[in-house]
């Protein structure tokens, strides 16, 4: 069937054709035609956020927890600029988003019109690709390509800017997939010779480590299953980046925990002493490597990544395998066949020695709940419910990564690359939309939660039973921690003054509010949170002075970890200060 339809209508039909269930958005002048087309359309559910930043993060949470692309719809100018942080966040964490922005009418572009911004120019370097559509006849093919680009290769955000007149003007609409050439064909498989060489390197290693990342999650649940299968054959210990948690089960005896700046002692020591590192869908981020010239000095490195520009970007590797994690893990498994791996008893004994340092242990306090304990109890009391956890950014995020444990992919939503405070609440809302029957908890800090606190209203409106568990220490804890370590405890602007009463705030938005003030209330408070069938804020007041350890300070190597009992001096040299 072919008929004449408006641009707005073609957009909606195209989204339906892509299987879009939810659009996270906020209306405004330059998207009114699209909102009108959505008005009586029951195929797509529009989630009205309270701020466009919330729309982008909600779409991220939806995408990360379901494996489907998140769709955002915002107006021109401030709508687009507000969404930009979430777009940049999705770009760094490789989250597939399709972002539709309204634009002023074609004839007004460049005239500094009302609510005009150069959305294409501003988003060019924080999107995988972007388009300004000037003719409704191009819309269907553009949207089709946008979804392909967002979802294939290294996933990421794609933005489509649609001027208002293009939404109103009409063009021919055809049933069926639009005709277009395929110009995006990322590498998926590695050449057989490289797979053979990789298997030889793995078979020869006596101290191998698997270092996995978000790429395993992005590749889909099959990649996690294949990772477990390959690991079972080889027996290598496994560590993961922040983004990769859940790909490998935390209850495996070969699980080392997270590596890097706040990673475990055993994970970082194993990386340092390994003779072979197999990097699977991770990118040697500065939070992982620490001081580059001292990073894993004794090892050969194999790097599996779908993005060739990740190879040799910061760390030189001996064998790059460019392709999709699941595909390459499958190739490796086939090539490995019935081989027997080397005897790793000695290596594992060494790992066991490092484990005995108990780097995640923490001192308890009689005066207050220590935040690590709060996360531990939250984990213990919710683990059987297979919850989805989101976080904001800061100390609470690292404590959650250390003390909450994951067994499956797509359960852990956090802003790793960009480190965006305010991510967790909207991400939890998006995840709850995509997983209506699952327990979704945002583990938050008192400072971060205020960055997108307006989204409480969104959860109320759509009856989304998300839980926000605030580790309230009345500080921007991670900033304070760095000021202690680097600036002789000169606490410049890191105290959370004038905090709201979170319980009253919850109630004002129609949420339930629970306050936990001491250890005796902790378990009951968490149980009450789970038992309530609507949204809940838990204001868990924790010890104010706790810091997040273990920690590799800026500019230090994996062997120079600070453990909780260590005495830390209060100043760093300029070279260390200059590192992020």
């Amino acid at each position: 069937m072919t008929e004449e339809r408006s641009g707005a209508n073609i957009l909606v039909e195209s989204l339906v054709r892509q299987g879009v269930e939810f659009v996270f958005g906020y209306p405004g002048g330059a998207v009114l035609p699209i909102y009108d087309a959505l008005f009586d359309d029951e195929r797509i559910r529009h989630i009205l956020v309270r701020h466009e930043a919330g729309a982008a993060h909600a779409a991220e949470g939806y995408a990360r927890s379901t494996g489907k692309p998140g769709v955002v719809l915002v107006t021109s100018g401030p709508g687009a600029t507000n969404a930009m942080t979430g777009i940049a966040d999705a770009f760094l964490d490789s989250i597939p988003l399709v972002v539709i922005t309204g634009q002023v009418p074609t004839a007004l572009i460049g005239s500094d019109a009302f609510q005009e911004a150069d959305t294409i120019g501003m988003s060019r370097h924080c999107t995988k690709h972007n388009y300004l559509v000037r003719d409704p006849a191009e819309l269907a093919a553009t949207i089709d390509e946008a979804f392909q680009i967002a979802m294939s290769g290294r996933p990421g955000p794609v933005l489509i800017d649609i001027p208002k007149d293009v939404q109103i003007a009409s063009a021919l609409w055809h049933e069926g997939a639009p005709q277009r050439r395929n110009r995006y064909t990322p590498f998926v498989e590695a050449p057989a010779a490289e797979i053979t060489r990789a298997v030889e390197m793995i078979a020869a290693a006596t101290k191998p480590v698997f270092y996995t990342g978000g790429g395993v999650i992005n590749s889909g649940p099959r990649a996690s299953a294949l990772l477990r299968e390959l690991q079972a054959k080889i027996g290598a210990p496994v560590t993961s980046t922040l983004m990769g948690l859940g790909a490998f089960p935390a209850d495996s005896e070969d699980w080392l925990g997270m590596l890097g700046m706040h990673g475990t002692y055993e994970a970082n020591m194993a990386m340092n002493q390994a003779d072979l590192i197999v990097c699977i869908g991770a990118r040697f981020d500065d939070r992982v490597t620490g001081r580059l010239d001292a990073f894993a000095p004794h090892s050969q490195k194999i790097h599996i990544d779908i993005d060739r520009s990740s190879i040799n970007k910061t760390v030189h590797v001996d064998l790059p395998l460019v392709g999709d994690c699941a595909q390459i893990l499958d190739q490796l498994l086939t090539e490995w066949g019935g081989r027997n791996g080397r005897d790793l008893t000695e290596w594992k004994a060494k790992v066991e020695e490092w484990r005995l340092r108990k780097s995640l242990s923490f001192p308890r306090s009689e005066l207050a709940i220590v935040p690590q304990l709060a996360v531990q109890r939250l984990f213990e009391l919710t683990k059987d419910l297979d919850p989805i956890i989101s976080t904001e950014v800061g100390q609470h995020q690292m404590w959650a990564a250390q003390h909450f444990h994951f067994f499956s992919p797509n359960r852990w939503l956090t802003s790793g690359g960009l480190g965006t405070m305010g991510y967790g609440l909207p991400a939890a809302i998006g995840a709850q939309c995509g997983n209506p029957d699952q327990l979704v908890i945002d583990i938050a800090g008192d400072a971060s939660i205020q960055m997108n606190i307006q989204e409480l209203g969104t959860a109320t409106q759509y009856r989304l039973p998300v839980k926000v568990f605030i580790l309230n220490n009345e500080w921007m804890g991670m900033v304070r921690q760095w000021q202690e370590l680097t600036y002789e405890s000169r606490y410049s602007n890191s105290y959370s003054d004038s905090l709201p009463d979170f319980v009253k705030l919850a109630e004002a938005y129609g949420w339930k509010g629970i306050r936990i003030e001491n250890e005796s209330q902790l378990d009951d408070g968490i149980r009450a949170m789970i038992a309530h069938d609507g949204p809940v804020i838990v204001d868990c007041q924790v010890s104010k002075a706790a810091n997040c350890f273990p920690m590799i300070p800026s500019g230090a190597s994996h062997t120079e970890m600070i453990l909780h009992g260590d005495i830390v001096t209060g100043i760093m040299d300029d070279h260390a200060k200059a590192l992020v």
Binding site: R124, H129, L132, R183, R308, S309, N312, K313, H316, A578
Partner: protein, 171 residues
């Protein structure tokens, strides 16, 4: 603390791209955003239907950065192909320049004589000026401009280079 700079080498890259709106901004902006250098950049469409453009970029950086530049370019959706001519080599590179020289008497005669040696062609003449057109490797144009400086140089316009692999096949 002082800022450290790494040693670098010059590379010539050709980039074949879809000739779509904003492609130049996308490429030039990627260089700025990631802290890479552009010494020169030329672009023009090269197919009959104007759908494909060829961009020649001269850049410099340490070898690992040059590799990164290539991979980052390849990552852009409208980019079809990136060739590092310096790496693939041998290749030819040529640049075109227009050079305006004003003067009378002995200097004017000398300018014309030097132009002949360089095979620069006068494309505009008045009784007291020339505009020379000169094609060649960038060093040749540098030397010609240096000589003209003493002979009444008024202004110089240069295209930046285009480059191509030697021999019968496409790179």
């Amino acid at each position: 603390m002082k800022i450290q700079k790494a040693a670098s080498e010059r590379h010539v890259l050709t980039v074949t791209v879809d000739n779509e709106a904003g492609i130049l901004a996308r490429i030039a902006g990627m260089f700025t955003a990631r802290g890479y250098n552009i010494d020169s950049l030329t672009v023009a469409d090269i197919t009959e239907n104007h759908s494909v453009s060829r961009i020649t970029i001269v850049t410099h950086g340490p070898p690992n950065v040059i590799d990164q530049i290539r991979f980052q370019l390849e990552r852009l959706v409208p980019v079809h192909k990136v060739v590092d001519l310096t790496e693939v080599g041998p290749y030819v590179e040529r640049e075109l320049a227009l050079i305006k020289v004003a003067g009378t008497g002995e200097k004017r005669v000398e300018a014309l004589r030097v132009a002949e040696i360089f095979r620069a062609r006068p494309v505009d003449t008045t009784t007291e000026s020339f505009v020379f057109e000169l094609t060649g490797a960038p060093e040749k144009i540098d030397s010609f401009v240096a000589l003209m400086r003493e002979l009444g140089l008024v202004e110089v316009g240069r295209t930046g280079i285009v480059g191509m692999i030697r021999g019968a096949t496409e790179a």
